[in-house]
Amino acid sequence: MSLAIKDDEVDIVIGALRSDLTTFMNEWRPMFSQFHLIIVKDPDLKEELKIPEGFNLDVYGKPDIDQVVGSSTSILFSGYSCRYFGYLVSRKKYIISVDDDCLPARDPKGFLVDVVAQHISNLTNPATPFFFNTLYEPYAEGADFVRGYPFSLRGGVKCALSCGLWLNLADYDAPTQALKARQRNSRYVDAVMTVPAGSLIPISGINIAFEREAVGPALVPALKLAGEGKCRWETMEDIWSGLCVKVVCDHLGLGVKTGLPYIWRTDRGDPIASLKKEWEGVKLMEEVIPFFQSVRLPREATTVEECIVEVANAVKERLGSMDPVFARAAKAMLDWVKLWQSVGSSSSRSSAV
């Protein structure tokens, strides 16, 4: 059950990697129309955006990005990373973000899944990262903490990030999808759960929500593959960003949830073609995961920004020499923090196109 959320506390941020958003917006209209939307156009996209009428939105494009960020920063808001610009300029408490090739899913009873309501419910109910509840989300209706769950931990902690899932085209990597070309995800797992503290997870950017005020600066547009492309198979930016967020949340005692809501991800792209590009990303994970598993943040890092700076420095020190992509990521993280402090926290906004 979602708690009452004022509609003006939510921004829905969409990174537009394709120009025609008509179907996308119309399909999401029942769920999105009461909220403010921020649409950020991929700077590499040449065509004009086609957006249907009847929404309360702001659209940002390359000129806006250049004006706000300046060309001197190394952060590239191209491709899937364009959405981070939306996170930067939003002034709302909660942000919900889905890829522009996703549509509303239906639950097993045939009802449309309200992705906004579920994400908000996840974010406004506490998370329970310190002990695993075998009945999953204890605050869900019809559930509770099980026998053996310590009472002192039942208050939970704030949930800063909510990671949703995908029916139809699951977020597999290119090798997996190429091997199982016809496999589609049809399993609707009716659960939300807190990811335990100290455990890392691959956070897909396809369907996420977060409390901007709590962790905004930790979602970093930093890891740009040399061959990064316009399919999710050709990126790792969200995985990197998610690992940063999880490490920071663990350190600051914030929670991350995974599970519901589902979206329906449409078939798009060719995994075999992407294999050539994304092989780089798959290889990098072998270094990335052990690094994040061993990162330790000092006690003095008490804000999200301080934590990200610490992680960035550790990246530079321990991964920088392994691959130039890491050195660039470290720099991008530091630039992002500075940007967040100057633009992200200020009350003024650049006007929409």
Binding site: F132, L135, A143, V146, D173, S199, I201, R232, M285, E286
Partner: protein
Amino acid sequence: MATVSPTPLLKDELDIVIPTIRNLDFLEMWRPFFQPYHLIIVQDGDPTKTIKVPEGFDYELYNRNDINRILGPKASCISFKDSACRCFGYMVSKKKYIYTIDDDCFVAKDPSGKDINALEQHIQNLLSPSTPFFFNTLYDPYRSGADFVRGYPFSLREGVPTAVSHGLWLNIPDYDAPTQLVKPLERNTRYVDAIMTIPKGTLFPMCGMNLAFNRELIGPAMYFGLMGDGQPIGRYDDMWAGWCTKVICDHLGWGVKTGLPYIWHSKASNPFVNLKKEYKGIYWQEELIPFFQSVALPKDCTTVQKCYIEISKQVKAKLGKVDDYFNKLADAMVTWIEAWDELNPSGDLSAKIPNGATK
């Protein structure tokens, strides 16, 4: 399209351990699924009472007199008047796998209305690897229709052996007494179609109602503690075993899964009786959780028994001051291991003695 191979029955490799003090009527409903297997019945309470086992099952039954006869003075580690006595069944079993179930648990139906073969699902869980080092957001990656997600390192995709499969319950959920008192009418109707590995370093409350494990791997850690008659606490037997087991699995690199299968839990025990049993536990678990979270097992603890003895030492050292009960429990843990090793010499389970089935 890959063909899904059928789950092996493992009927000569798995024992079903059932503690009971009432009757075994529930077995009738399980007959289609349990009949191929050997049962170990651990009769709690009055040993002069005869527990009738339904016709057609292959079983051995142990009452308190048998436990005393077989273990002698070491029988003191086996609880009386508590389902914790079931762990005696683990000790005398000669099989590789154990499935344990309570006598008020019945066959559940999945959302399509089909009867759930819980044992088959547990076997699948135990025979497929676990993935404790990195969480897979699509849950069990080895399940048909699922896989590892983008970002999951390939070097971790082989997984590790699964030691424990923890199933769940529809209808009466496994709540503690305070929660039962506040929500007497709540029923678990949510069928969560997932199995997942509990990450390394994370503890969980293990329920013994619907539980399977690889006895060869983790058996000695499945001691269900001192509960019931003459003890200050009850309903923490499986919890205790679960915390010890998880710490040891984490140390030795094995996995613990939770989720499917569901059984139908029919009986809600009396919450006031439960409250009396759990009362001390509710306070003590506040000390127990930090204790287990901080247990560090030295590198030379390379067997389950060594790990377990080490934990018992730390229990005495750190929990003895919480209550003298923990001194007794630590001693009982040692007794348990001694008894286990006596009944299972050199861990050699290949020297299987044909079961002395009591028909």
